[in-house]
Symmetry: D2
Subunit: 366 residues, 4 copies
């Protein structure tokens, strides 16, 4: 079953595995007329590339993007935009051992069972490198959203037990520390926590939060295509994400209706909400407030500490995963959450244009 | 944009609003040969029907299902199965007042903005009654899963601050208390909590947990159609659900790799996992362990306590929502979570049959 | 595999078999604000209902449509519109014999092989009654198109060897003769031809032509979703249609480029085409000229004359199909071709609204 | 609206324009385990590459395919297969003039209207080079079909007024003449006809026929996803195709039921049809006979003879299209028809595996 396509109107199809010839994406349904060049994409890819700090993998990958189609004279043409990052260094040798056993917390076992065999080099299609295509496509979506006055910003809300203090929230801080956390003090605490865990050859999880500002009312749908449902799928489809919540999320389970309902009031002639427990979505449709979502990211499964597992011959063995792995996934996944969020929004905003017959009649009167 | 269809191979399309002529669903892509009668569906609908206890709405609705197509001589024919529950009592009068203002926590405002007007009777399409179609379709999916030895069971894991003690977990308890909670002692505590909140004309939230047993390895996909991503969308598309997690979910954010990785080992010649933090899914593909997921359900937004809001003329007003509303959504939503879970599983299991060319060649050799 | 849903944005799902409880359709993605009542639908259904003349089946079916959802205060709400025609007379007895053998030219054999058994009453899902849902949905699409100044008119271009003289083309004639042919003289010739064939207990085929006037430029897509490709699928999905052509169609195979190219020229400041061999579509996108398409319809396979076939036990037998069958399918299929054409156009026109980023930015500025 | 993706289970997404950096395709949903190398693809691309004879364009393009992902150790892995043909020579200069006017019979005008501008180099996305991706993907589908004993063969049935004599039909002849016509005598007549038209700076159309042998019973669907409907869409989505028919096609319009019905009979214990007017499909489902379809291909619109048109400033002008254009499209389009046919079949065959619940239960019992 084809599972590498996402979106209805603004549709992306990703391809590529960790140690193949390259990784790429085809963006189809992108409207014509968006100014676009490789630099627009590259700056997003640079945020997820490895080797940026001692807290991410020490592999050096340049991840340079090339646009192969769909842009002419500096603007999107409305036809498919194909983008590729060629893999420059292919060190299959590093991975030869893991071909024979199933790494705990990885997809080795399920791939073998499903497909009969697997591309074991660097995780193949289950590698974090699969997200390159998502980020490249998301960069276009984010550019398009910005033309409409909509911004999408994600950051580390927590890493391990250390949580950012949202009262000190400062987005500018994110690029000042290697954890993409918007609170300088928390960054320091994370550094200490990370030092300890890295010494133990262990790894860390965390929580990514994403805030969308400037969202118009009306995007989304009443039933299965609820905006939050699609955001959930988008974010949960990122490897290592194990939980998703919108607005107050799991906290609403303990709240009462009186506490959780957001009162409506008027502000400069516009309907606004006094609070935003709903996270910007009511009945599956954007309500004009900020959209706020969170993703729980599990700790990197590849750890150097010794673990029990089985090999393909069915023998129980002890393994210690070698190689240069991220001790935490969160900082590099922040931009992936932004990308997936933007893709859902762009799709929903375009879909919403046909919600009323009057808009359609008007469009063709011109 | 069409948003009332769910699934790829086993595809359902729901229709109907709270106070219209009826509510229904068309199930398309259901395999031929499943023994099916109305009683198979009715027993699931009965679990969500109102008026079952003092903790759910006191409205009396029979919700009797009729199968209109797709079944012949007691078996599904492989063609669309249309099912309908006709609304017997249409009390539009009860709802005339709410037409003029926006209920906090409801979709009134977003519907008006998106579509230009709304069917204000009983919430129209945003009513909980929309789930009737999901449950009816889910009943068929569950029946089909049972033919493959797979069971799907959901229950209240928590209501408000009261959590079930999973060590005392007893599924049989669920039908013994009005909260569908598998722990008799917890049920008692919920009763007390509910009494207090109902006296305050307030409402309660909670957490639903769903466990799938007997799931084969291999269902799901490596990328956007990850099994957990589709489960997330399915469950988050249920009105009032604000959070989703799989396996250890948000707890993994605080765990380390060593703690969170599930070691593989052999058991009677089969690969199994020592723990199940992954919740039965690795790399988006079922791993043969139980699938375990949780949904955070917000408190019922319709409360009798006085709240602030605005009306369609842009005036700020105080409102107190009348009518017979559920003080908690959780107990009636349990069966909806089961239904949505089953729909995703059936679809993924069918999709998985084409994962290997050998299986396809074999199929047509016969 | 689910195969009863058609369309991307304006999406319909049909259900029901000939002798089941009813036949229906769910229209999802229909924009809000279209004035709609049952009479709007009924007038289209009446054009396909049986018993209208001696040249169609003598069965009497009222085919009264009921709208069950999606319309409030006389307008579409933007949520799914469910429509049903309940079968009033269920004469399964008439069909008991055909359960045992495979009617030539029918789907009996392929259904049995695919599904293991079939609903043999009146052809089950393969019955012409399946088109009721298409026509009901198409009626909404046609109403929406008329709000945009677009008309869709189909008619019999030929029945058997008798072709309408397009120089005498008079649409008003269609309702004056039982063949829906826009040429009074041709109608007379068809009557003679039909008399002869009916006396021989044989049946007739023909060609349906459909013309769309007022179509704006821009609907359709460059690649797989070419407007003509979708029209082809839509029309070829009608039972008994064996061929499809757009514009000059098969005649272009014999033409040269010079003959076949439509020269562009200016007319009152607008680009127009001097001829319309292209049939209103260039490169898969509507060019502003009339869209002209044709469908080849095979003769009714159910004939009273004796034919050879085999039964389920694998014995060769002679059969003579009893019952009141249409001696020709064409006249009743005309409205089905209109419906399917309209559905494709509505979908393409909505999709086209997101072709340029400027339109999207403008839409949300308001 | 995204329109460059085709198929449900075996899904392809094409990208690229005539004079961009390259042309490619992503094949998603391809089963694991198919032996695949670049040579398997190249031999199909070679059949559509230009410069093969004096009757096709004299441009020299090598069209060398590279597989970028989805194949490991010589076998497909079940994950997306990305293939690309890089454009080696980019002669934009040749096309600078046509930027300013609308070529008759081309998509220049509709692209400009839809998207606001167009990539005018060599037709951009509307170029015949777009089919490279289809053929590359189709090569995989054809390989997979051959593993199941199914063959797909297309050929020129007619070019201009010259038709192949099907009694002398000899597939081996196809590669012996530049027209891909399976009749040596007809080839000679086409050569004469072509000589005449080329001297007149004019172009020719024709008819492609495709025959599928070894097709099992059961692929396809009763309603919108009828096998013939999907074949129609697939084939009509090829640029220049203006008509489609299955089996006896348009000829059935003049036939009677008695003439057109294919009698069933027994042959070595199997149900077969005495004739095959149906073209191998009954009720939208394959019946086990050969599938036979035809496509009408218009004459190349680019001709050197002088034509009338308008330019972007709205002036009426005379143009003569320069450059090295195919005097006929048919011979190079033959392999494209094979590719599109194979893609539909593979998809339908995989979908059919879930038609019966027994097959599903059996699959998971193993």
């Amino acid at each position: 079953m084809a599972g590498s396509t996402f979106g209805n109107i603004f549709k992306i199809t990703t391809w590529g595995e960790s140690h193949g010839k390259g990784i790429g994406v085809v963006v189809d349904g992108c409207p014509a007329g968006i100014p676009l060049c490789e630099e627009d994409i590259q700056k997003f890819l640079d945020r997820r590339k490895p080797g940026q700090s001692r807290y991410t993998t020490q592999r050096k990958e340049e991840d340079e993007v090339e646009i192969l189609s769909g842009v002419f004279e500096g603007k999107t043409t409305g036809t498919p935009i194909s983008m590729v990052v060629f893999n420059k260094t292919q060190r299959s040798a590093d991975y030869s051992e893991i071909a024979s056993y199933y790494r705990p917390g990885h997809a080795d076992y399920t791939y073998d069972m499903k497909y009969g065999f697997r591309d074991y080099r660097g995780g193949g299609r289950s590698s974090g490198r699969e997200t390159i295509g998502r980020v490249a496509a998301g960069a276009i979506a984010i550019k398009m959203l910005s033309m409409m006055g909509i911004s999408v910003n994600a950051y580390s809300r927590a890493i391990g037990p250390v949580e950012a203090d949202m009262d000190k929230m400062d987005l500018a801080q994110c690029s000042e520390n290697p954890f993409y956390i918007p609170d300088a003090q928390a960054a320091q605490k994370v550094a200490e926590y990370a030092k300890e865990k890295m010494a133990q050859m262990d790894s860390m999880g965390g929580i990514i939060e994403c805030v969308v500002q400037g969202m118009p009312v009306g995007a989304g749908d009443p039933c299965f295509e609820k905006l939050d449902a699609n955001l959930a799928k988008a974010v949960m489809s990122i490897g290592a994400v194990k939980g998703f919540e919108i607005g107050s999320g799991f906290a609403t389970a303990k709240a009462t209706g009186f506490e959780n309902n957001d009162a409506f009031r008027m502000e400069s002639g516009k309907v606004v909400k006094e609070t935003n427990h709903a996270g910007g979505i009511l009945g599956g449709i954007s309500d004009g407030s900020n959209i706020v979502l969170r993703a729980a990211v599990k700790p990197t499964p590849s750890i150097a500490a010794s673990q029990k597992t089985v090999n393909q011959s069915g023998e129980e063995i002890d393994v210690s995963i070698k190689g240069r792995h991220d001790p935490m996934i969160v900082p590099r996944a922040v931009v992936v959450v932004e990308a997936m969020t933007a893709l859902v929004l762009v799709d929903a905003l375009m879909a919403n244009m046909t919600a009323r017959v009057d808009s359609i009649v008007d469009f063709y009167k011109k």
